[in-house]
């Protein structure tokens, strides 16, 4: 078990965005988190990666309690994520974004930079190698030096997944990686995600609305509604769960 969340709650001035949620993410799996808008899915991710502090509850990663740690420390421990609104460094180029994503695997500091010491040079070589590898993996090699602003929506989504990937994480949290994309592009991203867990062996936790994609990709699904977990199980089980159907999936899935 990689990540465990126990009785996690987040309250904002009286409003319970997340209430008493407990779940586990197991190594090597693809776990999908679904639920209507406002169910607390992104809040859950924000709590896990440190951007929000829990009101109560625990978050354990590889046995260590990480609740309340600063995001960069959590990232260093091996949890990477993407954001619903594609977050990239849009003043910089594609390669720069990837290089920054790899920064946490570098050891050099200020003085090494000033004197171009040996470990600075080694870090630079390793970064270059990793950037190129990731570029190939996500299929953006031709756009390497382009500014991020010149990329299409789908390419930007791929790049943000690449930035998460290059940090060599144990878990990637993908927050609506196909949000706003057309069918073709959605399939591309789905293939990329499959590549990630099959080829790179990284555990994935995914927030998605596109049910077909979720059923196709996920080993396990967790359903949130109004900040609480209402169901957990395999895609089969979830699609038959009456509460879930009522809250979210809609009548057409009953067939």
């Amino acid at each position: 078990m990689l990540l465990e969340v126990k009785n996690l709650s987040k309250h904002f001035a009286g409003l319970a965005a997340l209430h008493n949620v407990s779940l586990q993410i197991r190594e090597g799996e693809v776990l999908a988190i679904v639920g209507p808008n406002g169910a607390g899915k992104s809040v859950l991710f924000n709590l896990i990666n440190g951007m929000l502090r829990p009101t109560s509850g625990k978050i354990h990663f590889l046995g260590e309690d990480i609740a309340g740690l600063k995001p960069h420390l959590i990232a260093r421990r091996g949890i990477a994520r993407t954001f619903q609104t594609t977050a990239l460094f849009d003043q910089l180029r594609v390669v720069d974004n990837l290089a920054i994503g790899y920064r946490l695997r570098n050891t050099h500091g200020f003085w090494s930079t000033i004197f171009h010491s040996r470990d600075w040079k080694e870090d630079r070589a390793r970064t270059t190698a990793n950037v190129m590898e990731t570029l190939d993996f996500i299929g953006l090699a031709e756009k390497a030096f382009h500014p991020v602003s010149s990329l299409s929506q789908a390419e930007q989504k791929r790049l943000s997944i690449g930035v998460a990937l290059i940090s060599q994480p144990k878990i990637i949290l993908l927050d609506e990686p196909t949000g706003g994309l057309i069918l073709e592009d959605t399939d591309e991203i789905t293939d990329l995600i499959k590549k990630i867990y099959k080829v790179a062996g990284i555990t994935i936790c995914l927030i998605e609305h596109k049910m077909r994609m979720v059923m196709d990709l996920a080993h396990r699904i967790i359903v949130l509604n109004f900040g609480s977990m209402i169901a957990e199980g395999s895609p089969e089980e979830i699609s038959k769960n009456p509460e879930v159907i009522e809250a979210y999936l809609g009548a057409e899935y009953l067939a």
Partner: protein, 287 residues
């Protein structure tokens, strides 16, 4: 004991000024999220316009004050339109730089028009009242009285009138407000106008007591920011309370400790509080 009470009185008077200026600033900074560094300089301009109207055109004190408020309201709207509105969707650091440009223009403009030396405004209420061993000039009492009236008026305006709630609505959710049909640009202009008009009022009230000079606004503006940060962005009670606390601190500290360093207290307090609570005394966590 008499000395202490005297300082308390002075502190309350000073605090009244700070409270009004901080109030105007918290409206703009806390609600519109515009760091109007030029606020202190607009205050200074208010004093100069009042002075100008009284000495050159022979306006009475109250007429000059009201005229100054109106003129500054217009200037405030102009500043919002030219200096801040074009930058509303850009990172806030751009607004800082623009604000710096604005205050450079204001300060140097005043120097060019009226000279760098300080000026005296004739005191319209020269009488003195002796109470409990404290010497109170009528002018100082007036500052306190008018300040309290203005503060109460502003509170009522923001909380009870439709316009006031509109301003709060825009502060909470700009897009939502637009969708409901609120003219957001107009709200921005109005808030700025209120902010600068009240600052002008405070400036004209205080002008006969102290000299006016082109640099009088700079320090005051900075202190207003400190008050707003410590009292909580957008919190009107925080701005008022903070203003009075700072006024008292400076008067008592200046009287008993060191006059030269009295301006440093505000800054020292800021650094101290930020070290303990990075979100300010009453600030909320930003996610």
């Amino acid at each position: 004991m008499a000395l202490f009470l005297q300082q308390v009185f002075n502190g309350i008077m000073l605090g009244s000024t700070y409270a009004i200026v901080a109030l105007g600033l918290t409206l703009v900074f806390g609600i519109l999220h515009i760091p109007n560094f030029a606020h202190g300089h607009l205050y200074m301009l208010g004093a100069y316009i009042g002075f100008f109207l009284m000495t050159l055109y022979g306006f009475g004190f109250w007429t000059a004050l009201i005229a100054s408020m109106i003129i500054l309201a217009l200037v405030g709207m102009l500043v919002e339109r030219i200096v801040y509105r074009p930058l509303q969707n850009r990172p806030v650091i751009n607004s800082f730089i623009s604000a710096v440009g604005a205050l450079m223009i204001l300060e140097t403009g005043v120097i060019v028009l009226w000279g760098p030396q300080g000026r005296r405004i004739p005191n319209p209420y020269p009488g003195i009242v002796d109470l409990l061993g404290i010497t109170m000039t009528w002018q100082r009492l007036l500052v306190i009285l008018v300040a309290i009236v203005l503060i109460i008026l502003l509170q009522i305006f923001i909380k009870k009138t439709t316009v006031g709630t509109t301003i709060e609505a825009v502060a909470q959710n700009r897009e939502g407000a637009m969708l409901v049909g609120i003219n957001v640009n107009w709200v921005f202009s109005l808030t700025f106008a209120i902010s600068t008009a009240t600052a002008a009022a405070a400036a004209c009230l205080v002008a006969p007591i102290f000299m006016i000079s082109p640099t009088m606004g700079a320090l005051l503006g900075m202190k207003a920011f400190v008050i707003v940060i410590l009292g909580g962005l957008g919190s009107i009670p925080g701005a008022i309370l903070g203003g009075y606390i700072l006024g008292l601190l400076e008067a008592i500290g200046g009287g008993y400790l060191s006059a030269a360093y009295k301006d440093v207290y505000a800054f020292g307090a800021l650094i101290l509080i930020l070290s303990i609570r990075p979100t300010g005394l009453f600030g909320r966590e930003v996610s």
